[in-house]
Symmetry: C2
Subunit: 725 residues, 2 copies
Amino acid sequence: MKKNRRHALAWLMVALIALPLSAQQQFTLEDLNFGGKNYRNMIAKNRSLTWWGDQLLRLSADTCWKVNPVNGKEKVLFTRDAINKGTGLADDEQVTSLSYASFPYPDKPVAVLYNHNERMLVNFKTRKVEWRQERSVGAVAEEWNKNSRAMAFVMDDNLCITDAAGNTRQVTSDGSRDLVYGQSVHRNEFGIEGGLFWNPQGDRLAFYRMDQSMVTDYPLITVPELDDSLQVIATPAPEKYPMAGQTSHLVTVGVLGVATGDTVYLKAGDPTDRYFSNISWNPAGDIVYMMEGNRDQNVVDLVAYDAVTGNRMATLYHEAHPKYVEPQHPITFLPWDKEKFLLWSEKDGYNHLYLYDTSGRLVKQLTHGNWVVMDLLGFDTDRQAIIISANADSPIQQNLYRVDVATGQMTRIDEGGRGWHSGRLSTSGAWLIDNYQEPDVPRNIAIVDTRNNRQYRYFTAPDPWQGYTVPEYRCGTIKAADDSTDLYYRLVLPTDFDPAKKYPTVVYVYGGPHAHNVDARWHYASRSWETYMAQRGYVLFILDNRGSENRGRDFEQATFRHLGQVEMQDQMRGVDFLRTLSYVDTTRLGVHGWSFGGFMTISLMTNYPDVFKVGVAGGPVIDWKWYEVMYGERYMDTPQTNPEGYAQTSLLNKAADLKGRLQIIIGLNDPTVVPQHAYSFLKACIAAGTQPDFYVYPGQGHNMMGHQSVHLHERITRYFDDYLK
Amino acid sequence: MKKNRRHALAWLMVALIALPLSAQQQFTLEDLNFGGKNYRNMIAKNRSLTWWGDQLLRLSADTCWKVNPVNGKEKVLFTRDAINKGTGLADDEQVTSLSYASFPYPDKPVAVLYNHNERMLVNFKTRKVEWRQERSVGAVAEEWNKNSRAMAFVMDDNLCITDAAGNTRQVTSDGSRDLVYGQSVHRNEFGIEGGLFWNPQGDRLAFYRMDQSMVTDYPLITVPELDDSLQVIATPAPEKYPMAGQTSHLVTVGVLGVATGDTVYLKAGDPTDRYFSNISWNPAGDIVYMMEGNRDQNVVDLVAYDAVTGNRMATLYHEAHPKYVEPQHPITFLPWDKEKFLLWSEKDGYNHLYLYDTSGRLVKQLTHGNWVVMDLLGFDTDRQAIIISANADSPIQQNLYRVDVATGQMTRIDEGGRGWHSGRLSTSGAWLIDNYQEPDVPRNIAIVDTRNNRQYRYFTAPDPWQGYTVPEYRCGTIKAADDSTDLYYRLVLPTDFDPAKKYPTVVYVYGGPHAHNVDARWHYASRSWETYMAQRGYVLFILDNRGSENRGRDFEQATFRHLGQVEMQDQMRGVDFLRTLSYVDTTRLGVHGWSFGGFMTISLMTNYPDVFKVGVAGGPVIDWKWYEVMYGERYMDTPQTNPEGYAQTSLLNKAADLKGRLQIIIGLNDPTVVPQHAYSFLKACIAAGTQPDFYVYPGQGHNMMGHQSVHLHERITRYFDDYLK
């Protein structure tokens, strides 16, 4: 470790020497904003690392190195050139890059590599292509199984399988925009990220089938690209969008036997108004588990199905809550005991891991405390331990821990015990890559021996902002509007801060569930636009109100059925705090946020019209009755069952109260918060005689991609410059 | 006349006495803008007058008066109450208002009146309902013939007829959004205002049939009304929109014999890429005439068809021009000679009337000179004269003239010979209602004896702005960029004008064909927003550049194939003129316009980025290739035949040159300049890194209706206040 620290110092000195003698540089949005022309040079350098069993490997496009975890010494394992020469692959069949190489077989010198058209298993010792499989150009989803080497994919709306021998079979034929196979369902809520689920052996595939023929279309439109000479007129781009309280889709789960080609559907009963999520397999690969929730989202069951017959076998677990339950993780079997699995639940108030057996008996709660488990990284099978990430040391940190399953003893194993750590475990669980940031650390990587808790610094990123004038970032807590809960804030001070001056101040807000803004990453996770604004003479203030993530169930559920209200109360406590800061000009307060934060921005502008002078709201929800079923009803119930809550939170009813300058910005093709929200708010303001401003990014979705984000942030900045400065 | 002048003075004194003693009032947009809450009180009062033969009548909702044209004395002819009592109509059948009464039979004491469901012929002497006919609720077009009393209408996309006896027959059955019967075709270009054309006898009906199944849809969307609890999600509202150079619709003309029920289609040949316009009948009602133009719009033929067989009889007239010809008026037969008709043409450079006979022989050109005929008001049959409006006395006036057909002698017959006169002729042509404005006259009405050219003042509207601080309106001419053509401008000075000061100045512009902004109406036709801006301390400048109307063919056609270019050159001469005015701050120049004027605004902002600091462009054309076939190709030819012209005028190529502040405003449901224009310009600006502002009125079309126009003008004003003041 000490040696590595010296490495870091050496790096720093090189950077200092390389500095021009002129004054410190000023940032542009091309430097700071993702998509900016110089952005890649301004983020902390990283190393692409992976595991081959317990062997640490580093990857670049051209080279794969073996890395000694203790001293960081690297040795070339193979190069792309050598592979391409050795295999004798034709010019158009050569491996394109090693960056995406993977090493699924710990005991074989074989890498999964790709050329333009194929997935290949290449023996990097013999430099022979041991196996190859054509990839499906145009597949919208693709899952490969390392054991059977079969590939499942979705093409032209239908599910297809390519087996190890290269035979491709179309499994379904009635797929369409209305009938979706093998893709995410329930709009990616409930932890769903895909629709293809191999069993461990790769001989059975579970897959989603979603009938959305009964779901209304939202009429998005596509404006022709400027360089498209063939497309003259705009075209409809309808998006299936089930709004809160409206008819939703029907999901079923099929299981395909690869050898037989037969599909059986799990006999889960009528899918109307039900959610099927968190699909997983038993180790033997003949039982499918899934979480089954009701439309009200206050009850969930873990149910086991016979994968061969589709018959329902047992309900292993049942959870209910008067507000809502939201299973986000499939169960995971212990590698050393095929009868026991880990289950995630917030039932004690915080997200923790529980050990169950396959009869549905609770063996024990594995983690405890007023903190949450964030990720299950894997297992140390030999020693029967699990490796997790959690915020047990501080609500704004993410640390890595080893938990002994037998004793429940939990040991922090990351380097430094501060900051925000992301881990990647080796096959045996003996080693861990710890890639982390701290408030004053842009990025370090340590290799951890998880069994003796020793950390070896492998990489220390130089400060990417060396030579620039960087503002001060502060972090602290204030009390929520309940006078008891600690809320974390970040404060960014103007670059040439003078406490005797008074500065215009912008509150950046998100505020919604499943997200947070303040943590112990570099600069307390400050968004780079904050730095840009600080450079222009603004104070920035960011507060994670109740309703945001990682603080436990009750913290997040405080907002149930009246989104935005408790959040605003907490944000106003933030304003109270700003009033105590002599250098904050509270006559020049602005607010900015996107999505839920756009909703918060307009909520604050209209509920506190004398507090906030200027606001910029991106992709804002205006009325929750136009948001989609899954997320919307979880937090708000339905417009039919919670009319008061919908009325209270609807910004249509606040249009007349707009007083300051408000700019609303949307993507014309936003399929998440559809343009109807913003349009309807404009209608309400026009009727009420108030004057919001508005902008739209044609062809963009819920967020602006690529260089358009630079344009967007120039736009946002200009608005505050125009009216707040 | 003198007596009436005294009347006017009496009016004025009443108004002065009624004035509060406090200071002069300031205007609000609710006063000035149409749709404003006080707007109706702020426009010049009017009188609703009509003719029953040669008897002048005045109408209100409740009363119909006979008016003595010479002394203005009024006598009640009948009242609504008396009619309703006399006829004994049931409560739900009573006449609702007399405001829309008409008197089609000069020799009978009969009025056409309406109740909620019916058209009725009521004898106002006997107070009997002589005839009644149910109206068709939901009809999208309706034409009634006073001779046969048959009514033609379009319902549920199909043509229907109700005869005098009340029998209704559906004439077509295949009508749809794709196949349109009895409505305007060719997007109302070529003077087309409807699709149902009765012959004089009312026993045959010519009608349009438009097959637009092959025309692409523009995907407009409708956002639910805020008070619509049934409609949750936005819905598609596709609009058939043939863009320049693209496939257009097919129009044919049918003739229905009412007695037989048979329809024959005029045998005009393949309608592909042809325009059929200006449909009319011969006096005998058995020949249909129409103008037939080619897609290039540089050739037009007047063709006669046998209404019984549909056979083509003869081409009576042919006109061609290297740029374009644009017939806007059907032929009109002389009442005293069924073999001769009047034909309009610009062929000598100005719009004039020509007398032809039915063999197609030119009898003579009836009007001559470097001025244009604007309207044909009718005939004095006994004396064989025609009554027209024209700008023969000044390019910015519209005066009323009597033209003797035999001698061609033309006599101005309106009161005063200044200003802008609109006439309504009595049945015999002996009398004329002359409703007019002059630069300092809000509205006068004189009754004219057309045969001896005597005018009797009937009504003098009081100044509706009495008591308000009114700015000064000036009018004058400058030379166009060709250094020879006179262009008319209007200059509005700030309300508390001080020539020693320097004022921000806004150029309001339209600039396109078939329109003008400066004429000799009240305040030189100043738009009321100009007064609002003058009150806020702006100078307003409005110039009718080459390309605008009423100045003859070459003046208007100067812009052919490169719209906006000559117009900009002329507008920049306007800026040169402004530079000569010491009180104009040319460092604070703004520009505003709508539609073609929106196109001009962005053209000026991007072609002269250092001249114009702020612009507001409403419903702007961005690239003529996305404008519709009829108007677009007339002035620009097609993108295929005029690629240089389209490229030169496309504002997509100018997005990078935007420097000042530009706000673009559109109606989300604009079917005229579809939203794709504005969206694509935003795309181009985003790509180029320039920052226009944008606003949209959901549910609004090409112009903002009702009170939304007040909101719009508050918005436009604020933008100049924000960035130009």
